[in-house]
Amino acid sequence: AQSVTQPDIHITVSEGASLELRCNYSYGATPYLFWYVQSPGQGLQLLLKYFSGDTLVQGIKGFEAEFKRSQSSFNLRKPSVHWSDAAEYFCAVVSSNTGNQFYFGTGTSLTVIP
């Protein structure tokens, strides 16, 4: 069965520091992978997506993610975090053989300290 693991429940970083949020997936075929961000009281906003091709994908707000098939990972990175990046981040994988269902990780909460 498909699944997504985000091992870090909560991360705290200083403003200006680099960030890496981990995501591991379990999926038999070529996965379609996504990162979403959720600000308090809001819906989920797409940061970036990976379907195929270049394993390093660029997203909005200066985020990027790297797909590593050998490690079943799709980690999210940002070289310099801004206070406005404080939010909840979700990794997701799509299953194309079961009604295009999205499977989400449990999320990583990011706190940014000045």
């Binding site: 429940i9 819906g43 797409l46 979700f90 009604g99 295009n100 999205f102």
Partner: protein, 111 residues
């Protein structure tokens, strides 16, 4: 350019009451989804639909029902509200193997 619209944004129900959470999208997406979000649990799929007239259960369907009479609308029905259904509900839509677009959510409290 509305995207996915959910109503209401907030609702308080008494145990045993029923209600319908409305969801509509204007992007002509054939896939639509209902998720619930509980603290520390991520998003759990309740029901999904691959097109008008077709619905299927997700991971946590008990206590809920859906219908999909048009491409645009995908209402979620709670027949007998229970405290365990206190949650934030999100509707989403997508094209096949494309990113899902989410509504702003409905915060439901059952007392």
């Amino acid at each position: 350019n509305a995207g996915v619209t959910q109503t209401p944004k907030f609702r308080i129900l008494k145990i045993g009451q029923s209600m319908t959470l409305q969801c509509t999208q204007d992007m002509n997406h054939n896939y639509m989804y209902w998720y619930r979000q509980d603290p520390g649990m991520g998003l759990k799929l309740i029901y999904y639909s691959v097109g008008a007239g077709i619905t299927d259960k997700g991971e946590v369907p008990n206590g809920y029902n859906v219908s999909r009479s048009t491409t645009e609308d995908f209402p979620l029905r709670l027949e007998l509200a229970a405290p365990s259904q206190t949650s934030v509900y999100f509707c989403a839509s997508s094209l096949p193997r494309q990113a899902a677009f989410f509504g702003q959510g409905t915060r439901l409290t059952v007392v």
